[in-house]
Amino acid sequence: MRYDSITEAIGNTPLVRIDPAVHGLGRIDLYAKLELLNPFGSVKDRAAWNMARPHLTAAASATAEGAGQVVELSSGNTAKALAVLAGMHGLTFKSVTNRMRIPEIKDLLLLLGAEIEELPGQSECLDPTATDDPLTLFHRALSEPDSTLLHTDQYFNPRNTEAHFTGTGPEIVKDLDGRAPDWFIACVGTAGSSTGVARALREHDPAVRVVGLVAAKSDFIPGIRTIDEAHEVGLFDPGTYDTIESVSADEAIEGMLTLNRRCGILAGPTGGAAYFGAVRQLRALDENLTERQSAVFIVCDRVESYLSYVRHRRPDLFGRPRRRNSPADLSDAEIRTAPAITVADAQAWIGTGEPLVVDLRSPYAYAALHIDGSVNIVDELFEELLHGGLPFSRNRPVLLACPVGEKSARYAALLTRMGHPEVRSLTGGIIAWRDAGAPLVRD
């Protein structure tokens, strides 16, 4: 397949049947619409391109002089797609958001050249009469007469829905040999994809039943809104959905793992939520069916951007093999009896020039103030070194120092266990050293 522009690769994504052995539904064929295969990685590529295209064409035809900036309130995939599209057309992109809670996406946006403005948290000392909330200021800036900001307005822009009404929806019908599925299940974010696809499918067959999935209210699933948040979306109309169900973050991750591990579909949590919600909805129904039915859910984006999100909620998935010489293996007794030395004795010992003084604090803290002649090996690095064995010779005495003598005691115990004959922990650490009036220097 040959294209003149990457934007031509947007859309026409595969519809893949999920193996019944995985979902366990006997009479329903369940299909995944793989929006994660769009070129910038998500279902939002379609809406972003459809919303931005008129702006970008106009901006490109305008003469140079800093054509302007595309702005959007987005915390994720829309921002990603718009950043790429803006850059391709010589424009900059700015995302204003209070929902950017996925560090990988934030970093990726910065890498793509996007500017990010974060809205502040809620006021602790509430002023009910405040008029200067940042979102209001944002909208005011947009409507200033000489504004060069191009606001794509994904939560209200009908071109968002249209991208799916003319693209995603008809593609599904075509791939099902001209038939609409009996069920369509989608997560509600901007409501653009669910609304657009639902409209296209119902136009083909009014009997299509549409399930909207929202996040459980106390939960956070990237890309899905809670029911309260959905009400803030201009494109959201409760009438679009035959039923609205909620999914928890744990369920979304569970669904995601099934798609990842059993179906070869590297979906993110939103796709996982859609799969989980679909199977939960259809299972009850499946047993009573007399004829075959079909169902389609949308796999919104890919898993790679959500590793920290998953790690936070399911640390068990990231279990790593134990490594030797780890301070975690030490017993309390070993740490308690680790060889230690008081500040006064340490000063005298250092005076003999014998011990190597290792400061385990961060380089920033070390640079600010440290014991004269000491070496800085930050504890994380030190731990890494010890996995490989003793980092200094046995006949070189070592004095370990940390802020309060807690970490240094652990490492003194560990080095002792590893066979170092003369290692000491500075009792009370650098703080005790300072409080005793012993000298600290900057280099």
């Binding site: 934030k106 403005e117 502040p120 948290g121 602790e124 000392c125 103030l369």
Partner: protein, 488 residues
């Protein structure tokens, strides 16, 4: 009543629960001392302090916890705190005098906020630490110290306008503190006044619930302190202010259900939940929700000392990713905090007497009139939605069905509502009953109370337990010796 009652039940720890389980005592007190009546629980304050101390301990941090006095004017609370090892943060001449009189020695007092010459003089005269907002204030203090030949003053430099790397955070502007961008002239002034001021550290206070913003500010402070050290100054403390928050409600499910139904009420999907269809900042435009919910997040799973713990565990992105606590510790800095509301969690309640209960002919919520003004129970002023507890006058009275009510105050003013919310109570109150508003000690007791229309402000009493018995005295009669002596 229209659907199931939407309760927002207050979180009650053992002391407040025990008080509310003592209806005879509460009726005796309000009968003698009038309605409204404020009760403060000094011993709870000492317990709350311990929770903050244990977070310091967990992170091996040293430094002082300064109670933000402005949250409550009570003498009993302040004197009880003076008997611990905590400090106090004072924001006016009167508060400074109060703190000195309560037994705080100057090394345990920090003076912050807008200062007049008298406040500055007394602070400098007694050698309390002064937190300075601007270079102008520094010059003013230095001139005052020289003119009156006062001892060298320990100062904190309060900063604002911290910049995060990579991402611009649109923080609310603070009218306090010197922008970090103007640091150089500030430090030059500090060096110029080195004979009369001793910079012991830097401070910030951000009015936000966001951990990330506070982490940015703390990182900014570490960089400033490094700058101070490179100039040969020897600061050793970071004061991160307060704003740790309180969890007011017992049940997160109630809070979530309530806010969802409030949203639906604003959209017209369900009957109104407020007097006059008030939306608490939300409004409906063509079926779409607009505006911002102007409410305190009354159910906060992470608040108070736990919030401090999370903040200290937050990685300092621009300084190698180690947690903020580790950064403070490794740089040998003391951590100073100024909790107000969080230290006063569960430290008091406000009793109000029911004067009238009137059913509406149209079948809407009943009108309950209280012997108190809206400003006597300032929960609404702070956006805190929380149910009062009905304390019946006669316990033998048979329980009734839940009722929906509107709570009106005693002023001759249309808008004197204790809350604009329709309040659901598990039983119908009767004239003579008490409605007890729990957890009002932080900012909701005397911060806003007025004597408008010659109506009294609430009296305040201190209560404590001796064995199973509650004892009390007038707030200004309480001293740390009082409970032991049993004086009443």
């Amino acid at each position: 009543m229209g659907g199931k009652p939407l309760y927002l039940e207050p979180r009650l720890e053992s002391r407040l629960r025990s008080l509310l389980d003592s209806p005879d005592l509460l009726h005796t007190l309000s009968g003698a001392l009038g309605s409204p009546l404020n009760l403060v629980v000094p011993d709870q304050l000492a317990d709350n302090l311990e929770q903050f101390r244990s977070v310091y301990g967990k992170h091996h941090l040293s430094g002082q916890v300064f109670f933000a006095h402005k949250a409550n004017r009570s003498s009993a609370l302040l004197r009880r705190l003076a008997a611990t090892d905590a400090g106090v943060d004072v924001a006016s001449l009167g508060e400074l005098q109060h703190a000195l009189g309560a037994g705080f020695t100057p090394d345990r007092i920090t003076a912050t906020g807008p200062k007049n010459p008298e406040f500055l003089w007394l602070a400098a005269r007694t050698s309390v630490t002064v937190s300075l907002d601007t270079r102008g204030e520094l010059d003013q203090l230095a001139a005052l110290v020289r003119k009156h030949a006062l001892p060298r003053v320990r100062i904190l430099l309060r900063l604002s306008g911290f910049e995060a790397s990579g991402v611009r955070v649109l923080s609310r502007r603070s009218r306090f503190g010197t922008p970090v961008g103007e640091l150089d002239p500030l430090l030059e002034a500090v060096e110029r006044h080195a004979d009369v001021v001793d910079p012991v550290g830097v401070a910030y206070h951000l009015d936000t619930t966001s951990l990330a913003e506070k982490a940015t500010a703390l990182e900014g402070c570490l960089r400033v302190l490094e700058e101070c050290r490179s100039r040969g100054l020897r600061p050793r403390a970071v004061d991160i202010g307060g704003g740790f928050g309180v969890n007011y409600l017992t049940d997160g499910g109630q809070w979530e259900r309530y806010t969802t139904e409030l949203t639906e009420a604003v959209l017209g999907i369900r009957p109104p939940l407020t007097y006059g269809g008030h939306g608490y900042g939300l409004r409906s435009e063509a079926g779409t929700l607009r505006g911002t919910l102007g409410l305190y997040p009354a159910h906060r799973p992470v608040a108070g000392a736990h919030y401090l713990d999370e903040l200290l565990s937050h990685p300092a992105a621009s300084l190698g990713g180690r947690p903020l606590a580790a950064q403070l510790l490794e740089h040998l800095y003391d951590l100073q905090t100024e909790p107000g509301r969080a230290l006063l969690d569960q430290c008091g309640l406000t009793l109000t007497k029911v004067l009238e209960v009137r059913d509406q002919e149209t079948g809407g919520p009943s009108a309950v009139r209280l012997a108190a003004k809206a400003d006597d129970v300032a929960l609404e002023e702070h956006g805190v939605l929380m149910d009062p507890v009905v304390v019946p006058r006669s316990p033998a009275r048979a329980a009734t069905e839940p009722v929906a009510v509107h709570l009106f105050g005693s002023r001759c003013l249309e808008s004197d509502l204790i809350t604009r919310r329709t309040v659901f109570l598990p039983r119908r109150p009767e004239p003579g009953d008490l409605l007890a508003f729990a957890n009002t000690a932080g900012y909701c007791m005397d911060f806003h109370a007025t004597r408008a229309q010659h109506q009294p402000v609430a009296r305040k009493i201190a209560v404590w337990q001796e064995g199973d018995t509650w004892r009390w005295c007038l707030d200004d009669q309480y001293w740390p010796t009082t409970p032991v002596g049993g004086a009443q």
